[in-house]
């Protein structure tokens, strides 16, 4: 099981450090189910029509005329969740013969619906941006000292992946947010690079200057602070 010989300290910690109780699996599943239902519904609609799948719950019967409205609300809410976790599955367009995709609906109704989708995606992006604020504050402090701590670099690396995922999702977003995400991506990349120690000497100094430029000249941190709500981030994805 392990690569190293274990000793008394391992036994002590195994016995006394955060021994988990029984898994509350049904309670967790019940909460998970509520969040998954809209996504699974979409997966079934956009997937293979011949596939036999089991829904989470029996589908409620909707009154005629309400389907489109309810569907749109679900799509908008799901877009927030999907973008929040970095998924862009709907951006790939409609599958022939399947239900409406986000992209398809946006093309059909380019005004009101698109505005709603852009707003929903903005909320997801803002949620992500709010998670980057404390990290950028640390990076700014580190840059002033002329170095970026390895732990800060690892954190930046994680957020870099999420930022790229949002950018690559193809979900419609307003240009201000896209521009901010692009500048953020650059700053996070440089912070990760500088902290990793993969560059040294002249190259390291250049990267540090670029990092400083990104933070100060492009005002990434103040721009993020300007768009995020003062209450701060909630639990990711909730």
């Amino acid at each position: 099981m392990t690569d190293d010989a274990r000793d008394w300290v391992t036994d002590m910690v195994r016995e006394h450090y955060n021994a988990p109780p029984a898994t509350p699996r049904e309670e967790i599943w019940a909460r998970l189910e509520e969040r998954l239902e809209p996504l699974m519904e979409e997966g079934r609609r956009s997937g293979d029509g011949d596939a036999e799948v089991t829904p989470l719950r029996p589908r409620p019967t909707r009154a005629p005329g309400t389907r489109a409205r309810v569907g749109w609300m679900a799509l908008a809410a799901t877009a927030v969740l999907a973008a929040g976790v970095g998924i862009g599955r709907w951006s790939r367009g409609a599958v022939p013969g399947a239900g409406p995709s986000l992209a398809g609906l946006v093309e059909e109704r380019p005004t009101v619906e698109r505005t709603r989708v852009v707003k929903a995606n903005r909320a997801a992006a803002v949620e992500h941006l709010s998670r980057t604020e404390p990290l950028l504050t640390l990076v700014k402090s580190d840059v002033a000292r002329g170095t970026v701590d390895a732990e800060v670099g690892e954190w930046a690396g994680e957020l870099l992946g999420q930022t790229r995922f949002l950018l690559d999702s193809g979900l419609p977003m307003d240009p201000e947010v896209v521009s901010l995400l692009e500048d953020l991506e650059l700053v996070l990349f440089q912070a990760t690079l500088v902290a990793s120690g993969q560059v040294d000497g002249q190259r390291a100094r250049q990267e540090m200057e670029l990092l400083q430029e990104g933070l100060l000249d492009r005002n990434v941190l103040p721009r993020i602070q300007a768009v995020i709500p003062t209450a701060g981030p909630g639990f990711a994805g909730s």
């Binding site: 099981m1 392990t2 690569d3 190293d4 274990r6 000793d7 008394w8 300290v9 391992t10 036994d11 002590m12 910690v13 195994r14 006394h16 450090y17 955060n18 988990p20 109780p21 898994t23 509350p24 699996r25 309670e27 967790i28 599943w29 909460r31 998970l32 189910e33 969040r35 998954l36 996504l39 699974m40 979409e42 997966g43 079934r44 609609r45 997937g47 293979d48 596939a51 036999e52 799948v53 089991t54 829904p55 999907a82 976790v85 970095g86 998924i87 599955r89 998670r131 404390p134 390895a150 732990e151 690892e154 954190w155 690396g157 994680e158 981030p233 639990f235 990711a236 994805g237 909730s238």
Partner: protein, 184 residues
């Protein structure tokens, strides 16, 4: 049942929106995911949130799972990432609140131990480790991952994992040396 038996099928079915298939994946892996989350944060409510979030992310990212690594390894990578983010959030929150209130440890619901003093000392010692050491130590020595798995989960080299484990153990031996005779 073999761990991989039917799992690939369940993953495909879950991708198509089959809830029963995803529930099977959930049932197979939830104990390990919750256990890992609890070991990392020591709080039942937070461990539940992390478990829920990990499975939610896993579902939404199933398209990205290509089977290069075991599904369990991939899922534990997601879990570790969520748990670390939550720990950082809690730490930031505690730092902000420290001046306003006396804040206890994150672990409010630790199961009782026969020796609370020892338990508290162990807890304090582990939590005083830098995050990068603590994570490797918990994954390896407490949860039983090998260095190859940790390297995948944390996206580091195996050598880095070994070095961090070695440093973590050294620090813990030092911090808990007065208990050594009881456990040696």
């Amino acid at each position: 049942m073999e761990p991989g038996l039917n799992e690939a099928e369940w993953i495909e079915q879950a991708r198509a929106g089959d809830a029963r298939a995803f529930r099977r994946l959930y049932d197979r892996h939830v104990d390990r995911v919750y256990g890992l989350a609890y070991r990392m944060v020591g709080d039942d409510d937070l461990a539940r949130d992390i478990t829920q979030e990990a499975f939610f992310r896993a579902y939404t990212r199933l398209e990205q799972f290509r089977g290069d690594a075991a599904f369990s390894t991939w899922l534990h990578t997601v879990t570790t990432s969520v748990a670390l983010n939550e720990l950082r959030k809690v730490k930031r929150h505690r730092d902000r609140e420290r001046d306003l209130d006396t804040v206890g440890p994150v672990t409010a619901s630790v199961p009782p131990s026969s020796d609370p003093h020892l338990r508290d000392r162990v807890k304090a010692a582990v939590e005083s480790l830098p995050e990068i050491y603590r994570t490797v130590f918990v994954l390896h020595d407490v949860e039983g991952y090998n260095h190859g798995e940790i390297a995948q989960v944390l996206d580091v080299a195996e050598g880095t994992s070994k070095a961090r484990l070695s440093r973590a153990r050294a620090r813990l031996r030092d911090a808990l040396s007065d208990f050594a005779p009881e456990f040696a």
